[in-house]
């Protein structure tokens, strides 16, 4: 299942993704309700955190109200009407990618903007990509292969 992957080598921490995420979903600007978040740590790291759309999502497992489900398409979805706002999903998620919306009181997470994530379009350094774990692994394999290749020519 594809998710919004962030390459920490490229992320600059500009948080444009947060603002367009909230603009798209809520028609206001407020990073505290963005479904993608930039985490900056010192001295030299920036990375976004958002839902990995896990194959076997811990949030689905722990939800006492059955309000989170894994769709056939792969998307992990919150059913607002069922969500009781207990927040165990936030406790279960290893990334902090799902949490309670402070105004609505409902579990909130990345919904991939219905398949066309806005954050990716506004990511200037190209750190964000819609890709499945397999896609990330392919990139990693090629990078590893280049690193390990014997030097030829030149």
């Amino acid at each position: 299942m594809p998710y919004v992957y962030c390459d920490p080598k490229l992320c600059t921490g500009c948080r444009a993704c947060e603002l367009v995420c909230v603009g798209f979903h809520e028609r206001v600007f407020n990073p505290k309700i963005a479904r993608i978040r930039v985490v900056r740590s010192e001295p030299a790291s920036d990375i976004t955190i958002t839902c990995h759309q896990c194959e076997d999502p811990p949030c689905v497992k722990v939800c006492p109200a059955g309000a989170i489900r894994k769709l056939k398409s792969g998307l992990v979805e919150v059913i607002d009407a069922r969500c009781v706002g207990c927040g165990v999903c936030a406790e279960a998620c290893p990334f902090g990618a799902i949490w309670l919306h402070h105004e609505r009181g409902k579990a909130t997470k990345c919904d991939l903007c219905g398949g066309d994530p806005q954050c990716i379009k506004h990511c200037v350094p190209g750190a964000l990509k819609l890709t499945a774990p397999e896609g990330v692994a392919i990139e990693r394999r090629f990078a590893a292969a280049v690193r390990r290749a014997p030097e030829r020519g030149g």
Binding site: C14, V28, N30, P43, V124
Partner: protein, 643 residues
């Protein structure tokens, strides 16, 4: 009740540190309508609330932290705030701008601006969170550097607070102390950090979860996408984005050296033979480990640098240095030891000092040493040109006000008076502010910019890249074909009074929105028309949709800031440059033999502004045209209105 205009938080805070009281107030509609926001609103407030007899470090001076209506929206590059105060370094209008995350967070916390006065009985810090305002004790933070302070406050309040604070320099009232937010972003110029220190205010901490609503969301969304395209694509957008993303502002070092405008050896020349040692290629190859950005920017000029394994600065990691820092502490001190420049950059971040003024003080001291005005005994060690290690020692002494550092911490205008021996001749400052990294001899209009700037010799108030890089197409579009050739020639003085006036007006709007000057200063792709699009979409104020109205607001702001200084007795005599730029011809490079031909540019500038050419004073009719009749009456009373 919600504020009439959108985009704004609609509220502001008054903090009285003497009494320990805070007060939340509705933002006056007239401030928004008449001055937009940022340093525009700051101008109205400072003019009204700081009469001329108030000393910058007295409790009666106020310190304003301001955002604008666009701050915190998705429209780029709007992650900024400004600080406005009567400046301790210069004694006049003071203004400093910073990026990072802090400005937007203030708005999410519910406030457009904060006005701070008084002096706390003991060190305090201010914490603002979603309409809750609290003054907290800062005794254990006093004496800590900006990184330690930020860490300690994050430890106390959570890692998602945004901290703007001062370091040792601000506490010790170093006259060019700055305010540092998020460890490395600086509201740098004019000594705003010393005002904070004088108020015993260690930090202003914000966290907010409020939403910013805009008047016409669909239009703002569309304009945001369009701005994204223009910043990252297009002929000039792409070129400058690519350069700034790759190298950051240090990319300018090689270009400025090429046109002979790289201040070197205390502005004695504009060419540095070792510029490559502190230039963009070596920066990227040997030092950059990470690329960063302020909030909501499409240019992304910030870099984190690391010094490699050998030498006295091995292992140092610092965000920066910027072009201005590299000039002030590198070429202008003849220092080609890049790690030493980075070390001072980090010291300035940690102690909270403006790198431009700090570098100006070092190069001044080096020239004092060369010419015998300061001896090895006075300083404690030899301070030869180009000695990076000595520079590092001297900067530490400035922050702690130790020995000669105490004299230099007053700024070079005051230091030259103290040292005497003719050292005022090589104190490269205007109105008490150390000159930024340009030289008017190689770029005439920037000479005028330095001379007329309301804060002193700074670049961000009115620098034009149109002539610096000869953007002929834009020049022609804006000012017509007949004037284009002269305007595009950086060594010509013709029409430069008009040009500088026009960019100063443009930046008055930019500093009110607030957005970054990338996009207006360089590349020059955003102009009044663009702000007449975004401002009404964000605020719903229809009048902001008129370029004519925006230009009137811009002139109102420029005139009000000018009046703040005029009321203090400033006029044409103060709109000048160091003798070095006016009388000593540039010794080499493409501008060889040139001095700044200031008089014709200054005359034209005053005429364009509608000010008296002989005295530089404002006229009643001019002030009334921009709705400043009250200011005219005020100036008349103190004899600062043109006859």
């Amino acid at each position: 009740m919600a504020f009439t205009y959108k985009g704004y938080a609609g509220k502001y805070l008054r903090v009285d540190l003497t009494r320990g009281k805070t007060l939340e107030l509705e933002l006056p509609k007239e401030w928004a309508r008449g001055y937009i926001g940022g340093s525009g609103m700051g101008a109205r407030i400072l003019y009204d609330e700081v009469p001329r007899n108030v000393g910058p470090l007295s409790p009666d001076n106020i310190l304003i932290f301001a955002t604008g209506p666009v701050t915190g929206t998705a429209y780029p590059p709007s992650g900024r705030y400004c600080v406005v105060t009567k400046a301790p370094l210069t004694g006049i209008w003071g203004e400093a701008h910073s990026g990072g995350y802090w400005g937007p967070e203030l708005k999410y916390a519910g406030y457009d601006l904060i006005i701070i006065r008084g002096r706390a009985p003991r060190p305090m810090y201010l914490f603002i969170e979603d309409g809750k305002v609290e003054l907290r004790g800062a005794k254990r933070l006093w004496g800590k550097n900006t990184a330690e302070t930020t860490d300690a406050i994050e430890g106390e309040l959570g890692r998602d607070v945004r901290v703007a604070c001062i370091g040792m320099a601000g506490e010790r009232l170093v006259k060019f102390a700055c305010i540092i937010n998020e460890r490395s972003r600086a509201a740098g110029r004019t000594g705003v950090g010393a005002v904070m220190g004088s108020k015993r205010l260690k930090a202003v901490v914000v966290r907010g979860s409020g939403s910013i609503e805009v008047a016409n969301f669909d239009r703002v969304w569309e304009l945001t996408k369009e701005a994204h395209e223009r910043y990252t694509g297009g002929e000039w957008g792409k070129a400058s984005h690519d350069a700034l993303y790759r190298f950051g502002t240090p990319g300018l070092v090689s270009w400025e050296n090429e046109i002979g405008r790289l201040p070197t050896k205390g502005h004695r020349t504009g060419v540095f033979d070792r510029a490559a040692d502190i230039g963009p290629e070596v920066f990227e190859r040997e030092f950059i480990i990470h690329r960063r950005s302020c909030m909501n920017c499409r240019i992304q000029c910030k870099k984190v640098a690391r010094v490699g394994r050998s030498g006295p600065y091995a292992g140092l990691i610092t965000e920066g240095p910027e072009y201005e820092t590299i000039v002030a502490l590198g070429s202008n001190c003849l220092v080609s030891n890049f790690p030493a420049v980075m070390q001072v950059n980090q010291l300035c971040n940690l102690h909270g000092m403006d790198t431009i003024s700090c570098g100006g003080a070092v190069s001044f001291a080096m020239e004092c040493f060369e010419r015998g005005a300061l001896s090895e005994r006075d300083i404690g060690f030899a301070l030869g040109w180009g000695d990076g290690d000595a520079m590092v020692r001297l900067v530490g002494m400035m922050a702690s006000r130790e020995g000669v550092g105490d004299v230099l911490a007053e700024g070079i205008r005051a230091a030259a008076k103290r040292i005497g021996k003719g050292s005022g001749r090589w104190a490269i400052q205007v109105k008490g502010l150390e000159a930024s990294g340009q030289d008017g001899r190689a770029h005439q209009s920037v000479g005028l910019t330095h001379a007329i700037s309301v804060i002193g010799a700074a670049h961000l108030r009115a620098l034009s890249s149109l002539d610096e890089l000869d953007y002929r197409k834009t020049i022609t579009e804006r000012y017509g074909k007949a004037r284009a050739a002269a305007l595009g020639d950086r060594l010509s003085t013709k029409y430069k009074g008009m040009l500088v006036k026009d960019v100063e007006d443009l930046y008055a709007v930019v500093d009110a929105l607030i957005t970054c000057k990338y996009g207006t200063m360089w590349p020059p792709i955003f102009y009044f028309e663009d702000y007449a699009e975004i401002l009404p979409a964000v605020t719903g104020v229809e009048e902001f949709g008129s370029v004519k109205e925006l230009r009137i607001i811009a002139e109102r702001i420029v005139n009000l800031k000018r009046a703040f200084n005029a009321r203090l007795g400033l006029g044409r005599k103060d709109d000048t440059l160091p003798e070095r730029m006016l009388k000593e011809p540039m010794p080499e490079g493409p501008a060889k033999g040139r001095v700044v031909d200031l008089k014709p540019m200054l005359d034209e500038y005053y005429r364009e502004r509608g000010w008296d050419v002989r005295t530089g004073l404002q006229r009643r009719a001019t002030l009334e045209r921009f709705g400043l009749a009250d200011v005219a009456r005020d100036l008349k009373r103190v004899g600062a209105l043109a006859k």
